[in-house]
């Protein structure tokens, strides 16, 4: 079961992924998907972000800029009630991500098959 009209927010510095992933999720799950390239942009849209059911966060967003873990902490500080998915290449090597996992965040390791990605996001939407 999917939740029509639900909102997903997606944070990733890869422009192609910011186009492809929403297209996939909007088609498969009939959800609204907002994308952000940086944590600053993410935080500047706090109303829309905090209202989302699922937040999908890349971790490494480029050199010398806040990363996905910073975005996770920002969401937790503001009482985000949706589900958080880390969508990254080397989450297991990051101890902060391991801590975030204890706080209920889940990890999706790139590259993931589109069907599995959709299934994981659907599951998170149902849980939210």
């Amino acid at each position: 079961m999917t939740k029509d009209g639900a909102r997903i927010v997606f944070l990733d510095d890869n422009e192609d992924l910011r186009e492809l992933l929403p297209a996939l999720l909007e088609t498969a799950l009939r959800v609204e998907c907002l994308t952000f390239a940086s944590v600053i942009d993410f935080e500047n849209h706090s109303d829309q972000v905090l209202d989302a059911k699922v937040a999908i966060l890349d971790i490494n967003l480029g050199p010398d800029v806040p990363d996905g873990v910073d975005a996770f902490n920002w969401l937790m500080e503001r009482g985000f009630r949706g589900k958080i998915l880390f969508f990254t290449g080397h989450a297991r090597a990051n101890p902060q991500v391991a801590l975030a996992e204890k706080d209920g965040a889940r990890i999706l390791e790139k590259p993931i098959h589109p069907d599995k990605l959709v299934a994981a996001v659907r599951f998170a939407l149902n849980e939210a």
Binding site: D16, L17, E19, L20, A23, L24, N60, G89, A93, P114
Partner: protein, 276 residues
């Protein structure tokens, strides 16, 4: 005739403590301290023997002049220190000190009623253990200080002087020489361990850097791979023009090519470290 530039203690060979090389700077600094010790020590000795009639002053003056010349050489060469020249300077300094001691011991023994024999030679054995810039240089210096004292005592001291001074001699000098040699061995073994530890730390640092680099590369590779996965999926499901999707695939393949060039750079780094 060809010259062989290969280091006999090359990479992979087990370096014995007696082959351990101090760094150029450490060797230079050690030689400088030893020469300073000679110069200042001789000035103090000069003040002492002025109150002791019969002890010649000239050897001390010569030794101080040698120390000053060596200090000038050390100062001039401080920007380009070398272990070889530090060793040569150290040996010249030790020879100058030994010359002074051999030249003044007998007169001191005669002139001073309560002369404690070969104090400076014993001190020289310990200083050599602490400051010699190379193991063999330290060993030669210790042998020089101790053998000159033993031989002088045994063959050049009159029997009445031998009887008057410490009857235990020359054994105390030999004991100091032995102590000096053991301390020298201990010091160079310790330097060897420190150098091995530094090498291991450098390797660990390089491996950590490489591990981080490969983690970053994995992260960089995974986004283009994900783009390709999603694009192919979209391509299969799409009836529309496929040009934008193909463009994305091209961009991702280009990203992977760039990442490959990063990997090549790190391969070079690994090869370079393997040669060290």
């Amino acid at each position: 005739m060809t010259t062989n530039d290969e280091d006999p203690v090359g990479p992979g060979a087990a370096v014995r403590f007696y082959n351990v090389r101090l760094s150029e700077r450490d060797a230079w600094f050690a030689a400088t301290i030893a020469v300073l010790f000679n110069g200042l020590g001789m000035l103090i000795e000069f003040a002492i023997i002025r109150k002791t009639p019969g002890v010649p002053e000239r050897p001390l003056v010569i030794s101080v002049i040698v120390a000053v010349i060596l200090l000038v050489l050390l100062f001039l060469g401080r920007k380009r220190p070398s272990v070889k020249w530090a060793a040569i300077i150290y040996l010249v300094n030790s020879a100058a000190v030994t010359f002074v001691l051999v030249s003044t011991n007998l007169q001191s023994a005669i002139a001073e009623k309560h002369w404690v024999p070969f104090q400076a030679s014993k001190l020289g054995c310990l200083i050599a253990a602490l400051l010699a810039p190379e193991f063999w240089v330290g060993l030669v210096s210790i042998l020089g200080y101790s053998l000159s004292a033993v031989l002088q005592f045994e063959y050049f001291f009159p029997p009445e002087i031998q009887t008057r001074v410490d009857t235990a001699e020359p054994w105390p000098v030999i004991a100091f020489a032995l102590g000096g040699v053991l301390a020298l061995i201990y010091r160079f073994r310790r330097v060897k361990l420190e150098q091995e530890l530094a090498q291991i730390q450098a390797q660990v640092f390089a491996i950590r850097r490489l591990a981080n680099a490969f983690l970053n590369i994995r992260d960089l590779m995974n986004s283009p791979l994900q783009v390709i996965e999603l694009s192919v999926d979209a391509l299969r499901k799409s009836d529309e023009s496929q040009k934008p999707i193909l463009d994305r695939i091209d961009r991702s393949v280009q990203n992977l090519r760039e990442i490959n060039s990063v990997l090549v750079e790190h391969e070079k780094e690994i090869e370079w470290q393997a040669k060290q």
